[in-house]
């Protein structure tokens, strides 16, 4: 514990040593300088006239959004169904692909270190790239439509599900695995009877959690042409029909809240 002596020779307790104190100050100084530098770059690239106008633009926007054109909701049921399908089928496809990848990436089930690093690379690349970017690429490749959205969601989900799942596999109890292996079971049998039952609850929880996130993500995929309610949102924004936009916002808000509630309930029931 850092103790210093006062001029009268009395020992004084201090939280930090002088060196640690100065290092702390230095870290704060560096952090604040970095922040100010970044702020300067942004401020140079900003048209401040527009920012000063923001309050007026904001109130204007709200006045255009209210009252919402509720009758427009009838045209939204089909796009909403598409959005739910993109999220659900995309999650299912992503899980199917993530499952083997996770087993290859976990240290205790991976057949070879080289394959393990390959699987980890797949997981990292999938995680770093947002589903909207995947959708953008897939729309140019597959053409606009729900299929591009489903595959985009699936590709993004591989990384998320794969990462959490391989961490769960690495944390399993080794005793059941050893017991199964001791009976003379083959490698696949060990996986099926020793590893799988231990990770199934975690797996179900992760899948539902990702489904809930995917609902949120799939609402915007239409902005780049990948189907769902985002297409309607894009059309309404481009035609400046803000009273329709507010209806879409309300629907998205309700859907996401419900899906979050379902996912929380399911995870609560499993764990």
């Amino acid at each position: 514990m850092p103790v210093s002596t006062s001029s009268q020779g009395q020992p004084q307790w201090r939280l930090r040593t002088t060196k640690a104190q100065w290092l702390g100050y230095l870290a704060w100084l560096a952090g604040i300088s970095l922040f100010l530098l970044c702020w300067k770059v942004i401020s140079d690239n900003t048209m401040w006239v527009f920012v000063e106008d923001a309050g007026r633009q904001g109130t204007d926007l709200i006045s255009r959004m209210l009252p919402p054109e509720w009758t427009y909701a009838h045209q939204l049921w089909l796009p909403m169904w598409d959005t739910l399908n993109i999220a659900t089928l995309g999650t299912a496809l992503g899980i199917l692909m993530a499952f083997p990848v996770a087993f290859l990436a976990a240290r205790n089930t991976s057949p070879h270190p080289l394959i393990r690093s390959l699987a980890l690379t797949v997981i990292v690349s999938s995680r770093s790239i947002n589903s909207l970017i995947w959708a953008m690429l897939l729309v140019t490749i597959l053409g606009p439509g729900v299929l591009a959205g489903i595959i985009a969601i699936a590709l993004r989900s591989i990384g998320f599900v794969g990462k959490l799942l391989y961490e769960a596999i690495e944390e399993i109890h080794p005793t059941p695995v050893e017991a199964i292996a001791a009976t003379g079971a083959s490698r696949m049998q060990v996986m099926s009877y020793g590893v799988l039952p231990q990770i199934l609850p975690a797996f179900a929880g992760i899948s539902v959690y990702r489904w809930d996130i995917n609902i949120r993500e799939s609402t915007v995929l239409g902005l780049v042409g990948a189907g769902g309610i985002g297409l309607q949102l894009n059309a309404s924004i481009n035609s400046l029909a803000w009273d329709q936009v507010s209806v879409i916002f309300v629907m998205i808000f309700a859907t996401v809240l419900v899906s979050e509630w379902i996912s929380a309930r399911v995870r609560h029931a499993i764990i």
Partner: protein, 278 residues
């Protein structure tokens, strides 16, 4: 144990003695299991039936897909380097400023959204802020802020800061709600006021996680900053979008590789920081 479960487990025991062992299903009740399976099949038929696929278009695009994959073997960093660099600089600065501002604003909201230290009206207001900020995708928020603040990184910064508030405040509030009550009580017993309790009992308990989460959010904000450029909120997303629309896949591959590299780097450094704070 409910009667049905007792009967089931007895059945299992008899089966096991007869040498017919079966593994335990994840969902115990057979009725629920059957309903879920039937529901799944019905849903899959309905959903797959409503997906329209234009196979001619897919076949046409397949060549382009291969071209894109091939572009990853020869990424072109040079010919559009000025655009890439400008986008990258905007993305990185946006990430730093939005995380700092977002975390600074998330702390009071998070305190207000913790039921054990905030009064009920404030609790509901803060929970409302969190719900709104978390429900909407960053891109949707970006559209609104671009309309308000004009094109450019300022709108992007505000968007990411807003999204950060919801994320950080929710996790911070949950953290505060399950902190160790004994320490709070101890500080209160010495006569400490609300601020002193916060400073000496709550803050030391949540600080390591707060730092870890901020690092994590920095990472997320960078990833998101690559996306909100699509709707005009600045950053590398605009560069990426342009390159894809022009079918300049070599440049897109270069941008994607840079994004992956930076995410990897920040993930590695954030795990280092988290180990150091705990």
């Amino acid at each position: 144990m409910k009667p049905i479960e007792a009967a089931l487990s007895e059945q299992r025991q008899q089966d096991a003695q007869a040498g017919r062992w079966r593994r335990r299903p994840l969902i115990q009740s057979p009725f629920l299991r059957l309903t879920l399976w039937v529901g799944l099949v019905v849903y899959l038929i309905l959903a797959l039936g409503s997906v329209e696929v234009n196979w001619a278009r897919v076949a046409e695009g397949a060549g382009r897909g291969l071209e894109f994959l091939a572009a990853f073997t020869r990424p072109d960093f040079i010919s559009r380097w000025d655009d890439i660099w400008a986008g990258l600089l905007e993305s990185l600065t946006m990430t730093v400023t939005s995380t700092v501002i977002g975390v600074a604003l998330a702390v009071p909201v998070g305190l207000g959204a913790a039921r054990n230290i905030a009064p009920l009206p404030i609790y509901w207001v803060c929970r409302g802020i969190i719900a709104v900020s978390r429900t909407f995708q960053e891109v949707i928020i970006a559209i609104l802020f671009v309309v308000m603040f004009g094109f450019g990184p300022f709108a992007g910064m505000i968007t990411l800061a807003f999204a950060t508030i919801g994320f950080m405040a929710k996790l911070l509030a949950e953290d505060i709600e399950d902190l160790d009550e004994r320490q709070v009580e101890a500080v209160r017993a010495t006569g400490g006021g609300w601020w002193q309790t916060l400073n000496y009992a709550v803050q030391p308990q949540v600080m390591p996680r707060l730092i870890g989460l901020s690092m994590y959010r920095l990472d997320i904000n960078f990833r998101e900053s690559a996306v909100i450029g699509i709707v005009g909120a600045g950053g590398i997303g605009a560069t990426l979008n342009t390159s894809i629309n022009r079918y300049e896949y070599d440049t897109s591959a270069a941008v994607l590789l840079i994004i992956i590299a930076i995410v990897l780097l920040s993930e590695y450094s954030s795990s280092f920081v988290r180990r150091w704070t705990q």
